[in-house]
Amino acid sequence: MRIECKHVWEYISAYIDGEVDASLRADIDRHLETCEICSAVLDSTRNVVILVADDRVFELPTGFSQRLHARIDRELEAPGG
């Protein structure tokens, strides 16, 4: 089935997550083969998803883990802890 760009955009997120069914995926793939704009939208959206997931971009605050475990140690050492 031929689909419109707007239809593809609606499903970009689900497509990236592998959450569209096989027939819709095939329609989208066919559309992407000839549509430069949708290909770019897909790639840029996926770039955003990958960048956001990069641990180096979102690090825990310095010392967060150490302070958390120090607190756990106090609990473990407490009477009845």
Binding site: W9, E10, I12, S13, A14, I16, D17, G18, E19, D29, L32, E36, I37, S39, A40, V41, L42, D43, S44, T45, N47, V48, V49, I50, L51, V52, A53, D54, R56, V57, F58, L60, P61, F64, S65, R67, L68, H69, R71, I72, E75, L76, G81
Partner: protein
């Protein structure tokens, strides 16, 4: 996100309850990032987040004998974190507990993507990692709260849709709708700024997964 390992967790819990208390450090370590990002999505203030994160892990420790293993350990931990976070919100009194759901999915908005074709064609390395981080954080902080929560858990912490729904106390359908809109908003905002930057990931340019 560290991968869950139910066998390791079950064994750890059994031994902790039998007296090897120090193993609790190893048990909770893989959940730290998730706890942090879940609480950040609720509280936003880093001091509160750290405070409540500590209360959460203590509560997990004290209630460890109540974990039945019918949910994933992480999911159980995050439900405790969520309760503690909501408790803190009530205490602060800045918002009502149900206000998380007050913003509906019905809100109309422009989710049309930014149209550009050049991102893929420009060589990477145009931006310093640090600068990139700042741009991304700013974009995410600028999202409406119901969308920011989803991005924090689903895309930053890489929880799956079911876990994200459970952690936020909303339906999986809502997670999907909000995720789609959040990503569209981020793409729209970030694509023009980031077109010089391509993530380093093997096989990235080699077609679609």
């Amino acid at each position: 996100m560290a991968l869950p390992n139910p066998e390791f967790e079950a064994e750890c819990i059994r031994r902790i309850l039998a007296g090897e208390k120090h193993l609790f450090h190893d048990l909770i370590r893989p959940c730290e990032r998730s706890i942090y990002f879940l609480l950040l999505s609720l509280l936003k203030n880093e001091t509160d987040v750290e405070d409540v994160a500590q209360e959460t892990v203590i509560k997990v420790y004290q209630n460890l004998d109540k974990f039945r293993g019918d949910a994933q350990f992480r999911t159980w931990v995050l439900s405790i974190a969520r309760n503690e976070g909501l408790g803190r919100l009530r205490k602060i009194g800045s918002r009502k507990e149900d206000s998380l759901d007050a913003e509906t999915d019905e809100s109309s908005g422009d989710y049309t993507p930014a149209i550009l074709t050049s991102w893929r064609e420009i060589p990477a390395e145009a931006l310093e990692q640090k600068e990139l981080g700042a741009i991304l954080r700013q974009a995410i902080e600028g999202l409406p709260e119901i969308y920011r929560n989803i991005v924090l858990l689903r895309d930053i912490e890489e929880m799956d849709i079911r876990q994200t729904a459970a952690a936020l106390g909303i339906s999986e359908a809502s997670v999907k709708v909000r995720l789609h809109r959040a990503r569209a908003m981020l793409q729209r905002k970030l694509a023009p700024q980031l077109k010089g930057f391509a993530p380093k990931r093997k096989g990235w340019f080699g077609g679609r997964a």
